[in-house]
């Protein structure tokens, strides 16, 4: 077996030194009644070549680019990933390294994480970003937890009903066994959050609003912040598509205390939903209450610049049950991917890319409108928007699946009141011809 270097001679010699006769003897401390009664029943070990065949067959039983044209967003986005980024991730000094607890031999990871933290802070317009959470959903749950830690006596959190429903579900799960209450804010006819109810909520610790929201609509974070701060509560600005900030006002410029969300768009493959990248950034007053790892810049004994994990006393391995979070493993390699991607696209590139995303989505909107399809909400959007297809389009939708086109996400499972509504996403990966073809198919 190619992962076992030991030869029979090695094993015999080592057993002799340890002072036992066989490999089984090494387990003498395991009581008889704790042993497996039956041997492991697993499929026969596959050769590399059989494994390749098996996995290839499974992977072909999937709908992916370029064979399929998938117009889905809703928290996972199809973007081009430069070959240079994929190549750099194969540097095994990055991928096979552990958490950088021994900084002297982890300066590569540490400097890259410091760069990631910096670029994220700049992208979101916030003071400090951490070195990643699991994904956008758990990042939001952690943001609420942090808010309760800051606003000690408060018991309620408010979450917009147009925050991604999967995220809302995760938040509810995290807080189910606690004494904290979750209040949902309804949405208005124009597809944005109804902030009017915030004033009446008692013991409010924080309000979370997503922008662009689940319907793709751009929210007024400034007003949301004002409403939250009037109640001496925190504003959490969350997002699922950070590429938007190449074009749109970033959250930081609109006053939130915490900005968090999903970073998969930044060079990370969709990979059926994971691994993703939980991005998390705060105003500098809250640094010591942040969850997650933080990399700081410092000097070594000779005065040389270097980087090290810092403020570790917030974390579970030191603070245990009083830690800011239980997180240990994070999404380190995904954060590295995002840093490489942001470095590749650069300042000019991200503006162009964001603009292209929006313009392609706007083009599709225009063509659909011309063909008589109704837009559900008039509020400006980024690269996702909701259409109201004519009744009876369900059959057409199924037909299009057969033609290898996934024409958006039906919203009924998430918003039962929105029958015949579909969330369409257009990124830079769709050509004008693709979009024209989609319109033609839908309206035929």
């Amino acid at each position: 077996m190619r992962y076992f270097p030991h030869t029979d001679e090695d094993i015999a010699a080592m057993l002799k030194l340890v002072g036992v006769g066989t490999l089984e003897d090494l387990f003498s401390t395991i009581p008889e009644d704790c042993r497996r009664k039956k041997a492991l029943s697993l499929p026969e070990a596959m050769t590399e070549w059989d494994l390749n065949r098996h996995m290839r067959a499974l992977s072909l039983d999937m709908a992916a680019y370029p064979e399929y044209k998938v117009y889905l967003g809703a928290g996972s986005y199809e973007h081009y990933i430069p070959a240079a980024v994929s190549y750099l991730l194969e540097r095994s000094e990055f991928s096979t390294a552990y958490t950088p607890y021994q900084p002297e031999i982890s300066q590569g990871t540490l400097q890259a994480m410091y760069e990631y933290q910096t670029l994220v802070a700049r992208l979101l317009g916030m003071d400090v970003a951490n070195a990643s959470m699991y994904d956008g959903a758990s990042a939001l749950a952690e943001a609420f937890k942090m808010s309760f830690n800051i606003k000690r006596k408060r018991k309620t959190l408010a979450i917009s009903g147009v925050v991604n429903p999967l995220y809302r579900s995760v938040v509810e799960t995290y807080f189910a066994p606690t004494e904290y209450r979750v209040v949902e804010l309804p949405y208005l006819q124009n597809g944005t959050t109804d902030l009017s109810g915030i004033a009446e909520i008692e013991e409010l610790a924080a309000v979370a609003v997503q922008s662009p929201n689940f319907f793709g609509c751009l929210e007024d974070l400034q007003s949301a912040g004002e409403a939250a701060h009037l109640k001496d509560a925190l504003l959490i600005a969350c997002f699922t598509e950070p590429l938007a900030y190449g074009l749109l006002r970033n959250p930081g410029s609109q006053g939130p205390d915490i900005a968090c969300g999903e970073g998969q768009s930044l060079g990370i493959p969709q990979s059926f939903g994971g691994p993703g990248l939980g991005m998390f950034a705060v105003k500098k007053d809250y640094v010591r209450k942040m969850p997650g790892r933080l990399v700081g810049r410092t000097k070594d004994l000779d005065g040389k610049d270097g980087f090290v994990l810092t403020l570790a006393t917030r974390e579970q391995h030191i603070r245990r049950e009083k830690a800011t979070s239980n997180i240990c493993s994070n999404q380190g390699l995904c954060a590295l991917t995002a840093a490489m991607y942001m470095a590749s696209v650069g300042g000019k590139g991200i503006r162009d890319l964001a603009g292209l995303n929006r313009d392609k989505a706007e083009y599709l909107k225009e063509r659909l409108r011309e063909a008589g399809v109704k837009m559900a909400f008039e509020t400006p959007t980024f690269n996702e928007f909701v259409v109201q297809f004519p009744k009876g389009l369900e059959a057409k939708y199924e037909e299009l699946l057969g033609k290898k086109i996934v024409a958006g996400l039906p919203l009924v499972p998430y918003y039962p009141e929105l029958a015949h509504h579909y969330l369409l996403c257009v990124t830079e990966t769709k050509t004008r011809d693709d979009l024209d073809a989609l319109v033609a198919e839908i309206t035929s």
Binding site: R288, A312, T313, I318, R319, K322
Partner: protein
């Protein structure tokens, strides 16, 4: 870390089993941590201070001290209202290490019950306690 004989324990303060000290000054009680505690914790990087005006009972947690590798809770040696905090510790937390009984004082309390100070240990009792602590 130092031997007990290398550390300093003034006579004019009283000590708690959690290694805080209390000293009556102008009718108020000044609070800090002992030389032993600062030596055990290592270089202090951050002090979390309570708000002036906050009220605690004897034994309540009123703040924390962070070093690079550890966090230590601070407990009230006597009950009362916090009437002063050493704001110098925000920029210079290392004062707790270098000058634990004077410049490194942490809070000042208007004690609710003056007799609580009598329940604290004097220097010799405290040093005996320290000698009994396993390494």
């Amino acid at each position: 870390m130092k031997e007990i004989t290398e550390l300093s324990f003034p006579e004019d303060v009283r000590y708690t089993k959690d290694h805080e000290w209390g000293k009556s000054v102008d009718g108020k009680v000044k609070v800090g941590i002992s030389d032993y505690a600062q030596d055990q914790l290592g270089e202090i990087v951050f002090v979390e201070l309570p708000e002036v005006g906050a009220a605690f009972e004897k034994g309540d947690e009123f703040g924390t001290l962070e070093s690079v590798k550890a966090v230590s809770e601070l407990y009230m040696p006597v009950g009362g209202e916090v009437v002063g905090v050493n704001s110098q510790l925000e920029d210079s937390p290392e004062l707790v290490n270098s000058d634990p009984y004077d410049g490194g004082w942490i809070i000042e309390v208007a004690a609710g019950d003056a007799s609580e100070m009598d329940g604290l240990m004097d220097k010799s009792t405290y040093v005996e306690e320290l000698k009994g602590i396993k390494p």
